[in-house]
């Protein structure tokens, strides 16, 4: 029971991070391997505000999100758009995007190492126990989970109930046809990419309240987010949330019962099963 709730709390935060990546990969069609660095940067932001002036991470996200949005928008327009333009096929764009975002990811790590040093950083925010059905949980985890649920819900409503959201989903289905019905694909893609970065950075700020991060942990989060996105189906927010919760529970299960060092192995187990059995994603339909 305890495992399921802890896993659910972790999965909620994973869902937010993976939704950010899904916006970037599903909608803007850029496989962003520098996603984890955005997350760590968001975490650094929360850490810095908390230790320097005791600003709560829940308020920090209102600073982190616009900053991450602007930065990711710039990255898309300056660095990635030329690749989208020159790519002759989807495959070539994929290879170029992978190499470029790897480059950005390393540059990000390098810059953060230079700014903050290689130390682990953690701070203690709302580290009080709360009781729930006879078990104790950290209040910071519960708060992060609640914030993640709120944000995921807001994103979901935006994507499925608003005109802009519908345009973004149209791009995810077919960028070429989206142009034919009068959607400004280049500018909307840039905004979807930026929004994805902002969501991930907020996820990072929330995660930093209960996990220890350092400049080079980003890649682990990138991997987990990628696995979640693939499991849930590219461009599918509901699938992403389901997959994130599954991963959160499985990881907690493995960490509690076998060894805390095996969390990535657990994620890989799920990944392999999905690749072999349902490569189109948990809720996805098989392509014809």
């Amino acid at each position: 029971m305890d495992i399921i709730f802890t896993g659910l709390l972790l999965g909620g935060t994973y869902a937010l991070i993976a939704t950010g990546l899904n916006l970037q990969y599903g909608m803007a069609r850029i496989m962003n391997l520098a996603n984890g660095e955005t997350l760590v940067a968001g975490g650094f932001g929360a850490f810095w505000f908390w230790t320097s002036s005791q600003v709560s991470p829940l308020l920090t996200i209102f600073v982190v999100a616009p900053l991450a949005f602007a930065l990711n928008w710039l990255i898309y327009v300056v660095v990635l758009r030329p690749l989208v333009k020159r790519a002759k096929s989807r495959g070539q764009l994929e290879v170029d995007a992978i190499l470029t975002t790897f480059g950005l990811s390393f540059v990000g790590v390098g810059v953060m190492l230079a700014l903050f040093g290689g130390d682990y950083f953690s701070y203690s925010y709302l580290a009080q126990p709360v009781q729930f059905i006879g078990e104790t949980y950290g209040l910071n985890r519960v708060v992060a989970f609640a914030a993640a649920v709120l944000l995921c819900g807001a994103l979901w409503i935006w994507l499925y109930r608003s005109r802009a959201g519908m345009s973004v989903r149209a791009i995810a289905v077919s960028p070429d046809s989206a142009r034919l019905v009068g959607i400004d694909v280049p500018s909307l893609s840039a905004r979807a990419f930026a929004l994805g970065g902002a969501v991930t950075a907020v996820g990072g700020a929330l995660v930093s309240s209960f996990l220890t991060l350092d400049a080079s942990t980003g890649v682990i989060f990138t991997l987990k987010a990628l696995i979640i996105v693939i499991m849930g189906g590219v461009g599918d927010i509901r699938g992403t949330i389901l997959a994130a919760v599954l991963l959160g529970i499985l990881e907690t299960f493995v960490a509690t019962l076998i060894d805390p060092g095996l969390t990535l192995a657990a994620a890989y187990l799920l990944f392999i099963l999905i690749l072999l059995l349902r490569p189109q994603g948990l809720l996805g339909r098989a392509r014809t």
């Binding site: 994929e94 992978i98 470029t100 390393f106 190492l113 890649v219 690749l275």
Partner: protein
Amino acid sequence: MTARDRRGVTIGVLLFALAALLPLASDSYFLSIGVTIAMYTALATSWALFSGPTHYISLATAAFFGIGTYTTGIGIEYMPYWLTLPIAAVIGAVLAALVGVATLRLSGVYFVIFTLGLAELVRQIITWGQNVSGAKGLYVLTSITEEHIYWQLTGLSALVFLAGFLIWRSRLGFAVRILGDDEEVARHSGIHTARVKVLLFMIPGAVAAVTGAILAPRYVYIEPAIAFTPMLSFQVVIMALLGGTGRLWGPVVGVIPFTFLWEAISGTFPNQTTLLLGLSFLVIVYLLPRGFVGLIEEARGRVSRRGAFA
């Protein structure tokens, strides 16, 4: 064999013979750089054999390398050193085949993601195994010297070149070239694309494992953090792409300058190596999409065109 092939083989044999003489003529500093260059030549050239024509970016080098290191580390207790090398090759090839069967039927992104975490996955499992069994690290104590390691790695590189040359002329090589141009066309002309990719991916798997096995005596003490360095995978990718994967000799052209650059940067600014890796990726994508090979061939084309006018 055409006249051009024969010339290429002759030049190759002469260069390898020359490279084998290095330990006789140099001090230990250059020998250690020589070992690094020979190691990356084997890794990057075998990497390009698979990733060049197929455009699948493999980041599994560190995983295979670490497995090779561990094969020698564990095997040396029970058998002579020489036997551990072929065993490492077989284990590397089998693991590559398994990874390939799981991921190579699907789009390239899945493959990249899977290989990205593979080294970390194997490292976690070995660490866990050590925690359970109570063992910590392994000692590899042999009488193998730096010269021996250098010669073995040079020999391995020569084998990789030979394999690349033979594959290029075989049915498999022909199939891979078609597949690289257009997978759809390849499938329609009766090429079993998944099988071709898996077969080809076994080569870098085996080579990286043997490279790890050869270098095990150099480390003396082996533990997961030493054997599985994720940086290794990225360095190999950068070197191969920097040189260019369009030609068999392309990766070497990237290995040699990058090794010296890496030595210089990590010597003077040890904290900025990740930044260097990142910038190298960006340089490759934006300025050198076909690597040095592309530059050389462009220059050559310009010269011969000018010759035609004169």
